[in-house]
Structures are given as structure tokens and as C-alpha cells.
Subunit: 412 residues, 2 copies
């Protein structure tokens, strides 16, 4: 390994020592885990919190826990905790359902807030569920979906003008890690009287998203990536305060009712973000997520972002030195980069397998992407250098030609 890079890793780790929070996680020994953008690592305290939910809250206290253990209010309480990490003041985020279901609510509700308008813009390279759900929502709401590259969105928004309902984009591209311009697209949408919706799956916990600051209207995101909520952790929905009274979402379930226990025959939406709820919340997962968010205690989004940029920036430095000819798919400018570095390789899937054999866990994305996510809280610059060294070795020795292929691994 390059002594210069080793020194540089040591220096950067010393400089960022205040945000080295690996002790807050239970990672398997010896692994460099670069897949926290698919499934975040297990935070300390989560297993104990879940055991308490199962044994005491459920097993012993039974239905009394709906009140005594705060089950009923968990969606808004956890929503507020999530909101802090994406720049949303309390009362605007609810933890509920999946990202897909929440996006469906957002798109249909947007159509109802902008009657007479017909067009939704979204990114042709979105994570596919965003495309499918946007199409599905457009179908019931009578909208037309235009797939417009985010780099062209501002211009296209101006052209569509007062026929635009919604600009619905991911803040970070799930494949390349490119960070799109949430403030500019949001401003452009507002300039024509339309709304913006942001998918924060690859942003929450690693970016200084600033939903309130930038005037975002709607947002969705998942709890199981950088937020470390566990497999299939419930997702979240953000609706800006100013829109909540008009937020008329299509999944009118009893948990979103103004008086759920009155058992009234007709739906009256609850005031505030509670109307984003639908059915009984998935409490095991939600309370695991709540416990997981303690890993972010005392960490401001800007601090997580700073550490994330330092890690990804240093990884790019390492690649430049160790594997200079490798094609990097992620923008080099910090302002255009999320918290991942993706590289392209014709044998990308096998490269990922060979890295896993060396205890460097990343993932593959179609068609040729080796995707490496850098969760700021539990990775160090020393890990980053180690990962880059293994990547160099895999490529230099062509280990991908003899990698044991595991069954195809998964998830977003």
C-alpha cells in the first residue's frame, strides 16, 4: 500500500475523530461494509430495544402498550426524529408504509392540489419503483408522466409551465451517486405554480438535505439505508406545513382519521401530517428504527455530510493513485456527489463478488456498476484505503475471473 495514502488516511481520521461513531454500531469483525446504502449496519442498542418491545411491551403489557409504551404515537414521534435528519421542523414527517406507497400518496395528492394541470416530470433513470409508482399514480389521477433527465428538468419545467403538477425527483441517483439540484428544481417548480417531491432514499442521513430551508413540498424515503433501521424498516413521508390542510391522499385509512376511535362512518382527515398514516403501523420495525436513530444523537446533518464527503473524496484520491484507469461513474465535484462512489467495469458483478470474498461488501447495479456506499457514521478513512487496496488487487489479479458467484444479491 502507498505509505503516502496510509499517512493521509491517518491524518484524515484524526481530523474527523469527533464524528467517528463506529462504537455505536455492531459490525462483523474484519468487514469493510460499503453497502449501507442498501441495508444499513446494526446500531448498538437496537437488539435490546427490540427485545424489550417483544418481551415486555407485547408479551407482558399486551394492548396496554398502545398507550403506555407510546405505540399509537410512534409514527409521528419517529417521523419527527427522521425529520431532524432531513431538515424538517417537527410535525411534517410521518413514519409509515414503504417508500413506494408513500410516493403514490404524494403524486395523487399533488394532482388533487393542482386540479386542471396534467404533467408530472420524473427522472428516466430513477430507481424503478419511482417510475412504476409515478405511472400508476398518474393513471388514477389522470396525469401524463414525462421522463426528463434531472439535468434538463429546470428548462423543461419552464416549458411545461402552468400545465405542470409536480417535479418528482430523487435527490441522489441510486446508481451513479450523482447529487441533483433540489433547490433549483424546487424553485423552478414553484415559479410555474407547481410542486416538488423528493425521494430521499439515498440522501437521508448523509446529506444536509434541508427540506424546509429549500422550500421542498413533498418528500419520501426509506428507513433501512443510511438510517440503519433494519431490513424493510418503515419509510417516511414529508408534507410541508403549508400544504397539509390540502393534502388529500388516496389511501384514506383509519390511522389517518381525525378521530380514529370514534369509529365514525365517514373519513375526515386528521389535522397535520397524521393524515399521511393509513393502517396500523408496523411497530417492531418502527421501534427498531427509532432505536437505530440514536446512532445520530448529537450529529447534525451538516456534520454527517462533511464526513461523508471526506470519505468519498479520499476514496477517489485512493483510486487515482491505485487504479488510475478505472472509470468512475460518480461526479468528482463534492457539490454533485452523494455518499457513494460507483465505478464501471464490464465484469462488475464478478468484481463485487471478488471484493466480498475479501470482506469488502459493496453491490452490483445493472448494467456495469460496482456501487460502493460510504456510511459516514461507521466508516473510517482507514477503511476507505483498505477497500481501495482490495479493489486494486481484485482488478490487478483479475480475481473477478474466478470469483465464486453467490446467488444474486439484492436490494436497492
Amino acid at each position: 500500500m502507498s505509505p503516502a495514502l496510509t499517512d493521509r488516511a491517518r491524518e484524515l481520521d484524526a481530523r474527523h475523530a469527533a464524528t467517528d461513531l463506529r462504537a455505536r454500531f455492531r459490525l462483523p469483525a474484519g468487514v469493510v461494509y460499503l453497502d449501507g446504502n442498501s441495508l444499513g449496519a446494526l446500531p448498538a442498542g437496537v437488539a435490546e430495544a427490540v427485545a424489550d418491545v417483544v418481551h415486555r411491551q407485547w408479551g407482558n403489557e399486551l394492548i396496554a402498550s398502545w398507550n403506555d409504551a407510546g405505540w399509537w404515537d410512534a409514527p409521528t414521534r419517529v417521523g419527527d426524529a427522521l425529520g431532524r435528519l432531513v431538515g424538517a421542523a417537527p410535525g411534517q414527517v410521518v413514519c409509515t408504509d414503504s417508500t413506494s406507497v408513500n410516493l403514490y400518496k404524494a403524486v395523487v395528492a399533488a394532482a388533487r392540489m393542482r386540479p386542471g394541470r396534467r404533467v408530472v416530470l420524473t427522472d428516466p433513470d430513477s430507481f424503478p419503483t419511482d417510475l412504476y409508482v409515478t405511472d400508476a399514480a398518474a393513471r388514477v389521477a389522470g396525469l401524463v408522466v414525462e421522463r426528463v433527465f434531472p439535468g434538463d428538468a429546470v428548462a423543461r419545467i419552464a416549458e411545461v409551465g402552468d400545465d405542470l403538477v409536480l417535479a418528482s425527483y430523487s435527490s441522489v441517483d441510486y446508481r451513479t451517486g450523482e447529487l441533483w439540484d433540489l433547490p433549483a428544481i424546487t424553485r423552478a417548480a414553484h415559479a410555474v405554480g407547481a410542486l416538488s417531491c423528493w425521494d430521499l432514499c439515498h440522501s437521508a442521513g448523509v446529506l444536509d438535505v434541508g427540506l424546509d430551508e429549500h422550500g421542498a413540498d413533498l418528500a419520501v424515503g426509506c428507513g433501512y439505508k443510511y438510517l440503519n433501521g433494519g431490513p424493510g424498516a418503515p419509510a417516511f413521508l414529508y408534507v410541508a406545513h403549508r400544504l397539509q390542510d390540502d393534502f388529500d391522499q388516496p389511501l384514506a385509512g383509519w390511522n389517518g382519521h381525525a378521530t380514529p376511535f370514534a369509529m365514525a362512518p365517514d373519513f375526515v382527515p386528521a389535522p397535520g401530517i397524521t393524515r399521511g398514516r393509513v393502517g396500523t403501523p408496523p411497530l417492531l420495525g418502527m421501534l427498531a428504527l427509532e432505536a437505530a436513530l440514536a446512532a445520530y444523537d448529537g450529529v447534525e446533518p451538516a456534520a454527517a455530510r462533511e464526513r461523508s464527503l471526506s470519505l468519498t473524496g479520499f476514496f477517489l484520491e485512493c483510486l487515482d493513485t491505485l487504479v488510475p484507469h478505472l472509470e468512475v461513474a460518480t461526479p468528482r465535484e463534492p457539490a454533485r456527489r452523494g455518499s457513494q462512489v460507483s465505478v464501471r467495469h464490464p465484469q462488475a458483478y464478478a468484481v463485487v463478488q471478488a471484493l466480498i470474498a475479501r470482506d469488502v461488501v459493496g453491490d452490483f447495479r445493472e448494467p456495469d456498476i460496482v456501487r460502493l456506499g460510504f456510511a459516514p457514521l461507521y466508516l473510517t478513512h482507514a477503511d476507505v484505503l483498505r477497500a481501495a487496496g482490495h479493489l486494486r488487487d481484485v482488478l490487478e489479479h483479475r480475481e473477478y475471473e474466478r470469483a465464486q458467484f453467490r446467488t444474486r444479491a439484492t436490494v436497492t
Copy 2:
């Protein structure tokens, strides 16, 4: 206590000894738990299964568990296990989302399977989320909802005739425990070319529902009542094999795609019941439910039904002897009774609180219902007699006039 009833309890418990499965549960000592129709008790083995999911599958194995621990296939695997308990052959039930969300899918998909027809029938006394969701689905699908009492449904279905899309009913009334005629309503719907949808929240695990046998088309239900899946356990959706190719549900998410990892730009529904999936499944809750279903190992639905009827029948006997003037809201005929006995009292809420103070846990439902659910697997006839004795004492001594009111307890 009446010696005759004590003898009778002993005799019934001896007769039904083969289905006394209380050892499969972890109930708090001394409690007679009659609220398993709100939140089922904690089955043995669930805490250990959840701890394994958290520590080993998530914490140590991380993303590899999507394949190695069977996470990806959990919704259909758990769906099949649920299906066995409601009379559905494998491949027709998927465990996913909440009951509310699944009902929305079912109603919109029904409209798409019966284009040109406009009317949905549902019960004015349904659990409210069914009313809200049916209205919400009708709104996007261009349908008209008629609220028709289930006892009048067969006649009204014939009148509506070929304008009927769907008869959507609960198999058991959540308040009174009355069991409706699923076979007759289903036949009537089919006679006019329409579909039937059944909410099994208060049926699954206690009735011999027989979805396939009776030709039901669609069904939904939750995992946290008699199925004991834990707070907010994921729900299920049944679509009969013969309808699956045409089941075009509105929440087109990537988990329901034919090739989810191809990241294709357009939605192509998966074959079979998988198309009922939407987003990433809530695995903590789903795997807890899977472990909970082991409590039903070796128990046929008919056996659970037989024990349930014996328990509720004996409770009615006890009431007749001990509190003969109490108004019973639940039908006395076994064929018209689910697995609960509800009684009416002007101070119903206080009566429930006074019972809880005596470690007999039931719940209150508006306006005047004391609702007592009899989960067959973990209750004995001795428990039933004990509960009836406490109820007599509460009423005789007017304990409800001095019951300490807890904050209002909840959930369905």
C-alpha cells in the same frame, strides 16, 4: 362459583385437551386475556426468532440475508403459511402492507376486472377503515359505494345485477362478533358476474374460512389478532388463482415486478400473487409473524373453530347462569358466531376497566360494547368460567362506578 359450571369447565377442558396449546404462548401469569382479537398474545419462540433476525441475519450477515435467510421470498412464503389457515391453496396469499392498503388494491383491481360496472356493496357497520378505504378506492376507480347490511346483501346483489363490481364484506362483525354468510354472498355476487372480497381480520385463525372451497375471489386480513404476529404485523392479500392474471392493482411497486432486479423502466406485473407486493417488505414484523404461525402447527382450521365455538358457547352458558339479565350482542347460534362474545352495558367502558383491574382483559367498542375475544389456542374453559365470574362480580358490586380509568385503550 357454581359447582356445576366448575365441573362443566373441567369436563370441557378434558374433552378438548388435544387443542389446549397454551404452552405455545408466553402469557403474563394470572391474566385471562380476552383481547386476542385486538392484539394476539406472544407465542413461544417469537422472541428468539426476532433476536436471530436482528443479531445474526441483519447484524452479521447483512445484505447476504436477502438470499441466504430467505428475506426476498418471505412475503409469499409467509403468505402460503397464512393461506393454510384460511383455506387457500399455496400461491394465492401474499403477506404485505396493512389491511387498509390491501383492501385499496383489491377494490381498485376489482373495478379494473369488471369495466363498465359501477357499484360496490359494503357493510355500513364495517370496521371504519373498510368504509374509508372502499370510498377512497371508489373515488379513483369511478365507482359508487352502496352501504348495505350484510343480512340484506344477497337480495341487493340480485337487484343491482350486472352493474355490480364487488360485494366487499367482513366475514365477522368486529363489534358484535356476528358471522356473516360468506358462501351465500359470494354465490350471489357470482350469479350476477361480480366479485366478492372478504375482510378476514376477525376470522383468520379461529374460523374454518374456506376461501377456496367457497369460491371467494379476493380477501384481506391482518396478522396481529388471532394470528399473534405482534403489534402492527404485516397483513395479507388473497387473490384466487383464476383471477391473478387479470389482477391489475394500483400500487405498482418494484417488489411486484416480474423482473425486479432487471431495473426495467416500465412495470410488468409478476406472475401469480407476487404482483400483490409493493415495496420492500417489513421483515422484522414479517419474520415475527412467520415464527408466530408455528403456534398453529398441526392445528387445522376446523379444529381451531371447534375449540373456539366450545369456548364461546360455554361463556354464554356461564352468562346465562351468572348474569342472566345481561344483554348479549353476539348471536347464540354457533353458525352465526365468530370467536367473540360481546355484551352491552350503558357503562361498558368502565366495565372493561373494572375487569382489567381483575386481570380479565377485554376491550370497549363504541357505543356500549364490552368485547371479549376467545383465542382458541391459549384459552381454556376454566379461563372462560373465571372471566364470567369476574364479570358477574363487577356488575353485582357495581365496580364500574369506581373503576380507575386508564387512558383510553385502543386498537381494532
